[in-house]
């Protein structure tokens, strides 16, 4: 299921897949394992890639007000891209960029490797989470620009793919 939300002016799109005891959630081109557990009224434990967060969610109109770690977010379901309906597919970009600053924990592919959509490319540690970057389309690894242990900036190109 694809959920499209807006937070302030920018969209937040999640591809959600229910697994046995958790969800597989793809945001951008990163895959996360998400477990959710109700703890009380408006209170949920969210475990994202093994890291636990206490999250509070209330509804106000169509808005979801979310509190986590001292921050508050107002998300609104995007009416133009309602749940379950496919939106215009984004064009897969060949340059795989770091979505946030972090540290390269593991590079999962080498130059010349074949990748299929959803294949893991690299694990980036950022914001105390391990983020698994995945291929959005089938192709070949053209270039690997980082090594394990590298510290990278947000937006920095990590790998280049050549799509079929």
């Amino acid at each position: 299921m694809r959920i499209v939300l807006r937070h302030e002016k920018s969209p937040f799109t999640v591809e959600l897949q229910k697994l046995d005891r958790s969800y597989r959630a793809v945001v951008g081109d990163i895959e996360h394992e998400v477990e959710t557990r109700p703890l009380g009224p408006a209170t949920t434990l969210l475990v994202v890639d093994g890291w636990a967060f206490r999250v509070h969610v209330v509804r106000s109109g169509s808005q979801r007000l979310v509190a986590v770690g001292g921050e508050v977010y107002a998300f609104v379901p995007d009416s133009g891209a309602a749940e379950g309906r496919p939106t215009t597919a984004a064009v897969a970009t060949p340059e795989i960029k770091a979505p946030m600053p972090g540290k390269v924990l593991q590079v999962l592919v080498r130059q010349g490797d074949r990748v299929d959509p959803g294949d893991g490319l690299l694990i980036l540690e950022a914001m105390k989470m391990e983020n698994r970057l995945v291929a959005e389309a089938a192709g070949t690894v053209a270039e690997v620009r980082v090594r394990e242990g590298d510290t990278v900036d947000g937006g920095q190109v990590l790998l280049v793919l050549r799509y079929d």
């Binding site: 945001v27 109109g61 979801r64 914001m127």
Partner: protein, 504 residues
Amino acid sequence: MVVEPLGPMFRRVLVANRGEVAIRIMRACRELGIRTVAVYSEADAHAPHIAHADAAVCIGPPPSRESYLDAQRILAAARQTGADAIHPGYGFLAESPDFAAAVRDASLTFVGPPAEAIAAMGDKPAARRRVAAAGVPVAPAAEDPPRDPAGLGAAARKIGYPVLIKAAAGGGGKGMRVVRSEAELGREFAAAAREALAAFGDDRLFLERYLERPRHVEVQILADTHGNAIHLGERECSIQRRHQKIVEETPSPAVDETLRERMTRAALAAAHSVGYENAGTVEFLLTPDKQFYFLEMNTRLQVEHPITELVTGVDIVQAQLRIAAGEPLWLRQEDIRPRGHAIECRIYAEDPANQFLPSADKILFLQEPQGPGIRVDSGIAPGFNVPLYYDPLLAKLSVWGENREQARRRLIEALREYVVLGCTTNIPFLIDLLEHPAFARGQTHTQFIEEHMPAWKPANRHRLVAGLAAALDVATAPAQPPAEASRRAAPSPWRTLGRWRLGE
């Protein structure tokens, strides 16, 4: 084991205030075995403070002028409920000498200083002259200086550069200019006079020393009705936005024992000069070279009193009640031994990412922090509709730590635990402020926010986690009850209107 005698005490105290301070005063009363009476406006018919009292009286419509500022209605409520004393809290009528006198004339006790002391400190220029005569340092100034270049230059030199030129009739920055050398003086003075004339129809000006990046440091005083007075050390309240304090701490990172000795002596002299009684606060500006100048005296309980309570162990509100009941001061100066460090921050209903516009909405979910060293003085509850009419202070979060760094880290963690949903607050702004390296180093001054945090925006560090939580909520429970669906979409009146805030 000796049970302390409590002296002759009130039977029933009316608390002429609302919000967190009303609740805090009611707690102090209950601990002393005193019954309490709450007053409330129609906007506060469901406010938490009324549920902390033994009786509650509605005193009028929402506007303060017709309720919390209406002395006659408050006195009528006191008569109706048999109260024998009135505690004004802070703000509203707390610094009205007329109200203090009216309470006394009604044969009730005003829990605060004598009306005469309030009046003496309320007339700011007169108070300035009075404390100066008592030996308290005041910033060099000249009222209506000579206009000829030689006379003006001499006046400015006597004050010392930089000099601030202000309209005597003025306010709001009109006609205000900072002059850094004599070369600019004549031209700027003439321009300021023209601006003052245009704005106020009065071109008289006022010169005073312009203080750059001063700290706001204040001294807490306790004086009984028998001539005894002590101080409870200082508080630094430099972190302000438009003269609104946001973060306060004690001790001040800038005050050492020698300076503390000088400042507290000056504060006691200022209080003595007006025959002060009860709790009060003498405010100073402190320059980077350790010069301090009298600013004003707040003749009432101060918002930030909890941090002094945390480091000294003295319950200031209970002390106010005991002093007002005539008890001689039970503490000597040498009994006051501050320990550790305390920091308070004020939780406001405002949007720090949007020019700090007030937000007045319903509290949909509330979880306040708790644990070692943490104190919350809260005026809100789940389901409470924060009214538009009053100061946007929702609660105060204060922490104590063995040292400044422990207190700072504790406060940051407590803010991360603090959850207010429904009404936008300044909590994310406070976290970033407390994490700022200049704050961590204690390099605070009254321009801190303008200098270090202009145009603050939230870092949105947890956007991914929050988005996943929202998405799962949408995915697992997409059906939406229509209740309140349109409420938040309504335009806020605050884009066009101002709102009264507590003046401190």
